[in-house]
Symmetry: C2
Subunit: 188 residues, 2 copies
């Protein structure tokens, strides 16, 4: 089986290709898909996949990630990248000053499009916002604590294994394997 | 001359139709255009117009508005609506605590699409972020001061006359009138 990752991020495409080794052959297509401004990244990923499938007409996946803080009504949500570029971690910590509820989560939605339609798979890791710790990682990693350590205190390897994206991709992988198995059974 | 306003906001469409009375007949088309995540609303409005023109093939306009705070590197920018829904004015004021530079602006970009291509017109009002004052208006109006008063201290009429959107629409109106005049001259 073969599909394409539609993203402008070469790095991400390479990681995903490695993740599917032995299960699927994964190409990279760099296409700029418009991102709808829905608060739900599942909807955003699905619309990107619709757009890309209309343009390319071959099996593909798109993804989108949010960082949501409960006490801030989900902010920064799907706009995590923009918010990080502007107010950054100091801004987030300032917004949370004096708030006791520090719960937050990262969520990735992966949308897989093929002639059968579009399926969305989600992966989430739940944790809390803390003062910055650790020197690995980027973005919100130093202020997001998961099971006692911040993401910036995990090795890249460990982080890749437990990440929201890895969780969403695992669901897609399992689904593709089952589907492949069914297709083979139908043929036999 | 005749064109359509493509927006899901009926209210906005009606206001724009009134604005162009005597110059152009303005229809409302409710179409959900994907919004690219560019930091520049000129690019966002242009891409919405491209999308809508590809779908409808008739003269139309789209628009997009940003609220940009200098000391926050332009935040909340094109995501003003989402940010208002989540952290709101208290969040903005908290992020600015202790900052002396309070400059901010509202900007609207209007994109007009026709068989001649797409043109973008921009309108901006510059002011500063202050503690909330006034009871008219909505969104960031109470914390945005323009020439001594917050937008929530202006009457709706006054606000409509000086607004960023009115400024952008005036440029479009002037351009349409000039173009119309040229078309008439060609015909005579």
């Amino acid at each position: 089986m073969k599909f394409s990752v539609v993203t402008s991020n070469v790095h991400k495409a390479r990681e995903i290709a490695a993740f599917f080794k032995g299960v699927a052959e994964v190409d990279h297509i760099s296409l700029d898909c418009p991102e709808s401004r829905d608060d739900d990244i599942g909807v955003i990923a699905r619309k990107k996949a619709e757009y890309a499938y209309a343009a390319l007409g071959m099996p593909l996946m798109t993804d989108d990630t949010a960082f949501s803080i409960g006490a801030l009504r989900g902010f920064p949500g799907p706009y995590a990248a923009y918010v990080h570029r502007t107010i950054g971690n100091p801004g987030i910590l300032r917004l949370l000053e004096g708030k006791l509820d520090r719960r937050a989560y990262f969520e990735t939605a992966v949308a897989f499009a093929s002639e059968e339609g579009i399926r969305v798979f989600r992966g989430r890791i739940e944790g809390r916002v803390v003062s910055p710790r650790g020197s690995d990682g980027f973005g919100y990693d130093p202020i997001f604590e998961w099971e006692g350590r911040t993401l910036a205190e995990l090795s890249l390897d460990e982080k890749s294994r437990i990440s929201h994206r890895a969780r969403a991709l695992s669901l897609l992988k399992a689904w593709l394997e089952t589907r492949d198995f069914q297709v083979r059974q139908l043929r036999e």
